[in-house]
Symmetry: C2
Subunit: 519 residues, 2 copies
């Protein structure tokens, strides 16, 4: 009835039995690799694969991934077939009918380090290398990723942990070497809608002869990331060789970091942070610095808006984050400067990928008077980099930056970058909009960045490129009842309605204060 | 180009446009509800649904669920069709071709409470009601569930939080009222492989005339839960009315708690805890007590094995957990007793659903001499309940329990329970096994419960019912080199090989110490 078997003779035999024929089902499961197998498949029985099991899958290319099993109880698949989601199919570089092999994955050893962190133990470089390596290899499910990020937020990460995490994140991807210095870079810690200085700063620095190979993120919890905005102006999904060609040709670029595999786990972590709407200090520092170090940056300016509804709300929080950035950065050999900026209201007029792109174009085309705050912010940041990179004398950076805007050289540099990345294009405009009017006479007294950003997201940003908000007033603006305060833009009626419902449920996001002492 | 629209006129219009035709794809996505839509579907565009969006879905039955969107880029679906996973299909009670309506779900407001907990703020009853309610409604993704459990483990839950969580978990499901007292119950905090006393205790208590409507869990991180074991002896997936009928007829039952919707979020939380391999004190107390209170228990005995490789490792940890159980239990009106038991080695011989069932049958059939430790443990626990329930005088419970085993009344009560639940059946045996022999002469000095449990899981338990481990020696057993120490049992060669590889990579799980002073 039961029989005794010789284990040592098994592997070869198994390797042939565990093969199925690949079929592209065309199901896009986002970042998750999913495989579909018939519930009556002999391999499920033989290997004890249960529904939702994590399975190691390999094809003829010899690449292997960990995928989640979904069982199929109808005739969607023929016997002997295995269905693969788009992500699984593309990662394994399969062709229709290829043989696919399935085995149990090795146990997820780094999970014990995650558990230790949950219970408050710090993680060392080995732990973090193991965790980040397993994330990069796709071995962490959403459950594991969320636990790692939650534990990291729950127990404040030490300086050593953040530095080690940064290094782990750099080491698991490519690291660019430009064979020269300085390589300048900038980053904004975000939280301020519309603060889209990057394309302007890159254009100015490149116009001044500096090398600025900028990789940017998509939005984490905001209505637009720089990559989202830049994508409305030119292609941003360049691979490393294309990025290198652009930078060698024109001196700079503005591309999506995710496509060049610099700090590749960052985007995975960002997806989870977005779902949880958290972004801890340690994770933020590691995310930013790993990207910069991997991109080969030597000199970095960090724009840190501070304000009651910005990401960094108080001067104390700013000082803590600044200290972390400075300490980790200098420890890793990065020349780093932090500029605290005014985070009390959005910068520019637009909030959302395309709407912010229109503001960028205004500044570069000498229509900066329409968005004076964005113009000032961009020239200050660019000026700092011009000085750090010795393209301008100390104290004269901002002046040179302004000059490069006015004389059109920054615009020409930007055009050259867009052309080199695949061609300049005009940002889209939204088919639907709704104007929110001032409910009374008075002065704009407060603007809630967070709820404004939320409304922009409900309107469809950043996924709907043209969606978002346009501000028609800023802090201190004199308003007359019925005058446009801001407008919602969206690509669909459903989204417009959704954003509108949210606004209707909220107190004023832009507060109009009646003047106390009318003249 | 852009047009202004009247928002107030939209909803009715949208409700007709947002309808697709249901198609059962037969894809089993486990607990997750998934919907499949063509990437070119007009609703995706109109509503701004992105890949992996969470969408509120409803059918003609008026039930609504939150499902995850997967886009389909091939002709798997015709235009106008929507595919639904098995979970989504069954929850919505659809028929082929039914109209299905899609809208944006309301924002997940309870997520802000989860974030507060991540950053160390305690949760109150309102927060917990909101979180548990959203979990019960399927609004939490794996990412959210994992963050909630991780945060709860990272910041020790206060007594108040655990009590409130327990109540939230009770209130979100059914609560049974048996119209009489006492209603006795037992629970083991687990961590000790093979400790399958429950079926024996229920049989004894029912034989003594007590009412014991026992609901049990499936395994969390162990090779078998009581429900897994009981399922090899009789059906356990009874709904509440079937459970009630069984208890009214024979005085007790042993059913799977998940099927009767008592504390329904518990199984969802357990799935995540299993993936993370964590089980915090607070979560454990809430999980156990919510099930017992919902089941209508008035008197509860908790078996708490303590040992270096049990779930509770030290007397300090036991005291802490005991204090939590006692305080939360009495606060919620439960008469509760905790018995610390020896957790230094497995109880009985078998580890795994069916292998443990065979041990249970041995005790009930007066072959308890083969599993003396299981017999003693079960009669002590049953004795305590007999005394609490006033079926035995103080100090005489264990004696009566033994008598009911010996005179066959416990066995007859067990047979009656199995019959009432749908019929007794014999547990399966595994087609493959491998014996691990003693590497030397000596005495069994230590047994590592955790690694033994892990090996049993790698062999396929609990999903493969017949899989697991049989111990041929216990602590203190005299061994001769080559004598059987334990054996691996599995339903597939793949699993046997997998468990074997693990054992080969480990130091001895059962340590044989050479005798220092041979006589």
């Amino acid at each position: 009835m039961t029989k005794m078997i010789d284990i040592s003779a098994m592997p070869a035999e198994l390797s042939e039995k565990n093969t199925l024929t690949a079929r592209r089902l065309g199901i896009d499961t986002h970042e998750h690799a999913v495989i579909y197998m018939r519930a009556d498949c002999h391999i499920c029985r033989a290997e004890g694969f249960n529904n939702h099991a994590r399975i190691k899958v390999s094809g003829p290319s010899n690449k292997a991934i960990i995928a989640t099993l979904n069982l199929v109880v109808t005739d969607l698949l023929s016997p002997g077939q295995i269905g693969l989601s788009e992500t699984a199919w593309l990662r394994l570089q399969l062709n229709e009918g290829d043989p696919v092999r399935l085995i149990h994955p090795a146990p997820l050893l780094s999970l014990s380090a995650v558990r230790a962190k949950i219970f408050g133990e710090p993680l060392d470089q080995n732990n973090l290398d193991a965790i980040v390596g397993d994330i990069a290899a796709g071995r962490f499910s959403d459950i594991h990723l969320s636990a790692f990020l939650t534990a990291s937020a729950a127990h404040e990460q030490s300086f050593e942990e953040i530095r080690d995490l940064t290094l782990s994140m750099v080491n698991v991807g490519q690291r660019l070497d430009w064979g020269r210095a300085p390589i300048v870079d900038k980053h904004c810690v975000g939280g301020l809608p519309g603060n889209r200085t990057t394309p302007i700063v890159v254009a100015i620095c490149v116009a001044a002869g500096l090398t600025m190979p900028k990789t940017s993120s998509r939005a984490i919890t905001s209505p637009a990331g720089t990559a989202d905005t830049m994508e409305t102006l030119a292609p941003v999904e360049l691979d490393v060789s294309a990025m290198r060609r652009v930078v060698e040709t024109v001196g700079g670029c503005i591309v999506w970091g995710g496509a060049v595999a610099l700090s590749p786990v960052d985007d995975t972590l960002i997806r989870i942070e977005r779902a949880l709407d958290i972004d801890s200090d340690g994770q933020l520092v590691a995310s930013v610095l790993s990207k910069k170090i991997a991109a080969g940056a030597t000199h970095l300016v960090i724009d840190m808006p501070v304000g009651p509804t910005a990401k960094v709300r108080t001067e104390e929080a700013a000082a803590r984050l600044e200290g972390l950035f400075a300490r980790v950065g200098s420890n890793l050999g990065l020349n780093l400067k932090i500029m605290r900026t005014d985070g009390s209201q959005p910068v520019g007029r637009g909030i959302g990928p395309a709407l912010e792109a229109w503001d960028v174009l205004a500044v570069l085309n000498n229509e900066g008077h329409n968005v004076p705050d964005l113009t000032v912010q961009a020239t200050l940041l660019a000026g700092e980099l011009l000085e750090m990179g010795q393209a301008a004398p100390a104290g004269r950076g901002a002046e040179l930056a302004t000059e490069l805007l006015v004389n059109g050289r920054a615009w020409r540099a930007f055009e050259a970058i867009c052309e080199a990345q695949g061609g300049f294009r005009e940002p889209p405009t939204a088919p639907h909009y709704q104007v929110i009017q001032s409910p009374r006479d008075g002065v704009v007294g407060r603007i809630d960045n967070r709820r404004l950003a939320k409304a922009a997201k409900l309107a469809g940003a950043p996924a709907s490129k043209a969606a978002g908000i346009v501000l028609h007033a800023k802090l201190g603006s004199q308003m007359v009842k019925g005058q446009p305060l801001y407008s919602l833009h969206s690509q669909s009626l459903g989204e417009l309605s959704y954003a509108h419902d949210y606004l209707a449920s909220q107190p004023e996001i832009i507060e109009i204060e009646e003047e106390q002492c009318p003249r």
